[in-house]
């Protein structure tokens, strides 16, 4: 009952929030939702199935570039183009997954495979004229909702929020289904799962495709929020790290982990920028890094599982 009430209150607050806060706060919230969304997409493969991908920037980039190129050259709405990008990303993920899972790459080797695939995508993008190469791809701003272009931040706020809500709903459905049970079993012990009749190859492929397609949708959002795409930001390994770090800090393999992780890191990043960026150059990044180390050191399973454990313990202790 308390949880339902809290949820409703939080939902109502999120609906009115963008109208009350200043524009830089709107940006902060959009960025939080958007990275929580990407984190949730990564979480399906990395958190639930335990297959660590350090190459999700590839799917993100495919989603961003596909919808942008289709809109620029063929006038196709990004709302449709994003589906094409998601399909392409899913196909690429199945290709990488086939290589990795069929040949039994696990742990570090799978991580390296995903990283290599993303680097190839970045290099290809740098040399493809249609994607703008080094110069990057500019999208001309012509406000039109059907072209995913909006005046002001508020429409982006609600789209990002809807994306996040959708991704959490998908994670929730997966968690309750046979797929979710199997993914967690695969994460815990792949051979034991296989011995119990779980087609581990098939379920890892499904998780990878879903994760890649969702990530690509996030790429389209980025393209039409920034109006500029450059391979060295969109497809860079740094971006892959940005995508995976939030669910890891917040608690991978849980629904609320990526959300909590995104809020925490956004808060950390913003406050270290506010308080330390003015002095020595780069000090804010050092502080951010140090705080990150503290979080990972003291909450190795992530913030959410530790918090949930603590909340469950307390009523019993006081009783």
């Amino acid at each position: 009952m308390l949880r339902v009430g809290l949820g409703a209150a939080a939902g109502a607050a999120l609906l009115v929030l963008p109208f009350w806060v200043p524009s830089n706060w709107q940006n902060l919230l959009i960025s939080t939702f958007y990275y929580a969304y990407l984190g949730q997409a990564w979480n399906i493969l990395g958190g639930y199935a335990g297959q660590l991908s350090l190459g999700h920037a590839a799917f993100f980039g495919i989603g961003a570039y596909t919808s942008a190129v289709l809109a620029i050259h063929l006038g196709i709405s990004p709302w449709l183009g994003m589906l094409a990008g998601a399909a392409l990303a899913a196909i690429l993920s199945l290709g990488i997954g086939y290589l990795g899972f069929r040949f039994g790459l696990r742990g570090f080797y799978f991580v390296l495979l995903t990283l290599a695939a993303a680097e190839i995508c970045r290099l290809v993008a740098l040399h493809l004229p249609i994607l703008g190469g080094y110069t990057g791809l500019f999208i001309t701003f012509r406000p039109n909702p059907w072209q995913f272009q909006f005046r002001g931040k508020i429409p982006y706020y609600f789209i990002a929020l809807a994306f996040l809500g959708g991704s959490c709903a998908i994670a929730w459905l997966i968690q309750r289904s046979k797929l979710g049970t199997y993914l967690v079993a695969i994460r815990e012990d792949e051979d034991a799962s296989e011995a119990l009749g779980v087609d581990t190859f098939r379920y890892k492929m499904i998780a990878y495709a879903v994760s890649a397609a969702l990530t690509a949708l996030g790429g389209t959002f980025y393209a039409y929020f920034q109006f500029y795409l450059q391979p060295n930001s969109v497809l860079h390994i740094n971006h892959s790290v940005d995508i995976m770090i939030r669910p890891i800090v917040g608690g991978s393999g849980t629904i609320l982990g990526p959300v909590l992780g995104s809020f925490l890191l956004e808060l950390l990043g913003e406050s270290s920028r506010t308080y330390f960026a003015a002095g020595t150059a780069g000090l804010n990044v050092v502080i951010y890094g140090l705080l990150l180390i503290v979080v990972v050191l003291f909450l190795p399973r992530g913030v959410y599982p530790t918090l949930a454990h603590w909340m469950r313990r307390r009523p019993r202790d006081s009783a």
């Binding site: 309750r176 289904s177 967690v184 034991a192 296989e194 011995a195 119990l196 009749g197 779980v198």
Partner: protein
Amino acid sequence: MSLLIVNGVSKSFGGLRAVQRVSFDLAEGEILGLIGPNGAGKTTLFHVVSGFLEPDEGSVTYAGESLAGLRPHDICRRGMVRTFQVARPFLNLTVLENVIVGALEGVAHRREAVEIAREILDLTGLAGKAASMGRSLTLPDRKRLELARAMATRPRVLLLDEVMAGLTPTETGRLIELIRAIHGRGVTVLLIEHVMKAVMALSQRVLVLDYGEVIAAGRPEEVVRDPKVIEAYLGADSADADSRADG
């Protein structure tokens, strides 16, 4: 009619011939014990039969169908399931969830899988621990969970790899009763076991493996008197026994 036919199976790792031309049949409803000194190739043979390893030569036929090229989950779904020598519970899942993983295939709704899992937990004496995490279980309970998960797949053939290892005599006695109960439900059992009390109590027939080869087969009380078997376990001389103990 044999349910499982292993015919001339060999498997080498580099220069080590782990299993050499092993043949045997397993009849429906039988309990067959597979014994032999450490390193005799018993677990390798299990890996081949359960689909975790491809044999270099020879064939495995289950219920009239060749298992060549099938992956472990295919074989499990056809009704033959294995346990692992070192129990491998899903550490961060509850005991109930562990068993549900085995029960999910072939049911329409998760609720059915939960029902199957609860029934199996009753059978294996783990019902009281349903909500415990896999990581919190003691060794005897881990062994039981290994058995429970396998039973949740509703097998026709159960391949048990040293389920008794590391148990006290009392616990061994209880587990023997459990395996008898499972056999009583019509499940055929192939049992790798070092604990002779269990082998003698359960097996209708025993197969002895040494250096990857079958050296004896027959009723348990005959096999243990076979000079070749005694030699394999104790060694022709002590030097031989020492070198084997190191291997």
